[in-house]
Amino acid sequence: MNKKFSCFQELFSYDYSWIPSTLEKATPPPDPLHDHLSAFMTGKLLLRNEIPLDDESFQQMESSDLLATIPAIEKHPWGYKCRRCGNRKGHLFASLPDGAVYCRNCIMMGRISEKEHLYAYRLDVQWPKHIGACQWNGVLTTAQQHASNQILSAIDKGSLRLLVWAVCGAGKTEMLFPGLNLAFAQGKRVCLATPRADVVQELLPRFRSAFPHVEIQALHGASNDKSGSAQFIIATTHQLLRFGRAFDVMVIDEIDAFPFHKDKSLPYAADRAARKTAALIYLTATPRPKHEREIARKRLPVVFVPRRFHGHPLPVPQFITAFDFRKTLKHRELSPKILHWLRKRVKADRQLLIFVPTIEDAVIVTEILADSIPSITSVHASDPERSQKIQFFRNKSYEALVTTTILERGVTFPSVDVLVFDSGHQVFDQAALIQIAGRAGRSPDDPDGEVIFFHQGKTEAMVKAVETIRKMNKLGRRV
């Protein structure tokens, strides 16, 4: 009976039993480069050409059971499954002229087919134990301290998950420091994964200065050193596709963000990259329904941080109807409602951050506003000067910035008013709107920027977003 249904079980659950266990006792190969190689190879799933060994020493290693050979593609009654990226979709498999099936989903990392193998290194690496590694000497707020204690005990206990539901601007990074301090004291390997490369680059210097003696590497698509051999890895979630059972502590930042919740291979890889005994810490300001359900069923422990680090409540978005937004935009004008608001702004010295649904809208809105606001520019995902423009805006060289949803999260500008044009558009879902509203009032000097949703009819996402923000503010007052 059980056997009959085992194929369905395989279909619906992640199964990583094919990753070999680490060897208890092994004679390491007599190689001066050995330590270096061990650090590089441990906890990874590599292709032959990613292993920097000549054929002779490779074969020697393979025969010495230090290196496990794993078939890369599984064949099931319901189809194929790629072990590297977890892909199970029939249309993302194809076959070569010799009949070998290959995975099209993760082909950009080098093709793997039925005839090729993944190699896993079975020797455990002892990571250094850093006592008192954390050199950060800031003070956490009460709300932060509470969450931080929970994180610390989760890391200490291991084998559990914890969702940290912290509002935008709560100071999530600092809350991790005490927990990571403990992890490094225990000689654990840590990974912090985030969906965006920009965030990786922003986090690296912060962690380097907080943990100056711990080896930290940043892995993202454009990073120079992709070896991933450090004790502490800060990586985009895509980079986790090379890891298997590697980390004792796995922190996933913005677990609700695109592409993490869209691309199924990323949760698969993130789960696999963590050891069985690992502590998984999820950070988010806007959990997806899947996690909210788990919280409601008490399957996922959660800790709230309903207050920003400066103690002020989140700015609550205001709705202003502008039914003629699309119509006026066609004539290269802005709706009178918007123009009226711009004229009557309370604090006109704040910078303006304007969100629009599409790239085309961004271009048009920028053109229109350029008459009244001379220093204005726009950014979007395929803009080559994107990071430069954001930097200029941060330096206040620009008065206004028109953007698509790419700036919805992860970026901090001290003093901005946030406008959303056509906030009923489908790209602005509840999570996006909460994140966008969270861009305002980030600095303790100016904690209440305005957030205005110009809409052509309220949507559920808009209403829910405001409800959630109000709820968090209410919770925050109680702390």
Binding site: H91, L92, A94, S95, L96, P97, D98, A100, Y102, R104, I107, M108, G110, R111, S113
Partner: protein
Amino acid sequence: MRCLNCHEIILHQVTWSNLFSPPSDAIICESCFTQLERISMPQCSICARPMARGKICKDCERWERDESWRGILEKNVAVFNYNEAMKNIVARWKYRGDYILIEMFKYEIQEVFQLHFSQQDLLLVPIPLSQERMSERGFNQALAIAALIKAPVREVLTRIHGEKQSKKSRKERVNTENPFQLLEQVSKPVLLVDDLYTTGTTLRHAAKLLKEGGAPAVYSFTLVRSG
């Protein structure tokens, strides 16, 4: 049905004219299709490079001026221009090894072949890969193209040593030794098949051998005309 290139679901617009006919089996979606650029008509009569005016492009003029290369290659026919989208697709297909991607060009390849060569009785000869490259890639991209054309294919060439063409300059390419070897004599006119026509050196090297080996005329067919 999913688009072979971008994996999005292809949605069929139902209109009165196609309401009762079976849905067309499109392989790629509308937006991927529009990114591909067919070679436009005023083109060099030898190498199919799109040009504003004139009959033969400068490169081909140089080839034809040279005694030893004159008339070696009758004519090259190519299907697509090498624009950004095409570069990405070819890179994924050839270098990343996503073999199935060639299917998305099937109709265009067959159409262009029909247009230019349907009257002739031709033997298709794909440009070979070296042993090394073949085992690395798992398929020969030229053979993959030839397999889509409804004509007899025979692999009569082998490659002796392989160094990547794409890393050499034109001068280096033209002056290299002939990298091919002919396995058997041919008597029919030959259509060489390859993925890219860049300087035409590879194809001319192969064509020269084939001519020496008995082929009365050698044409070539490439997926892309680059350069």
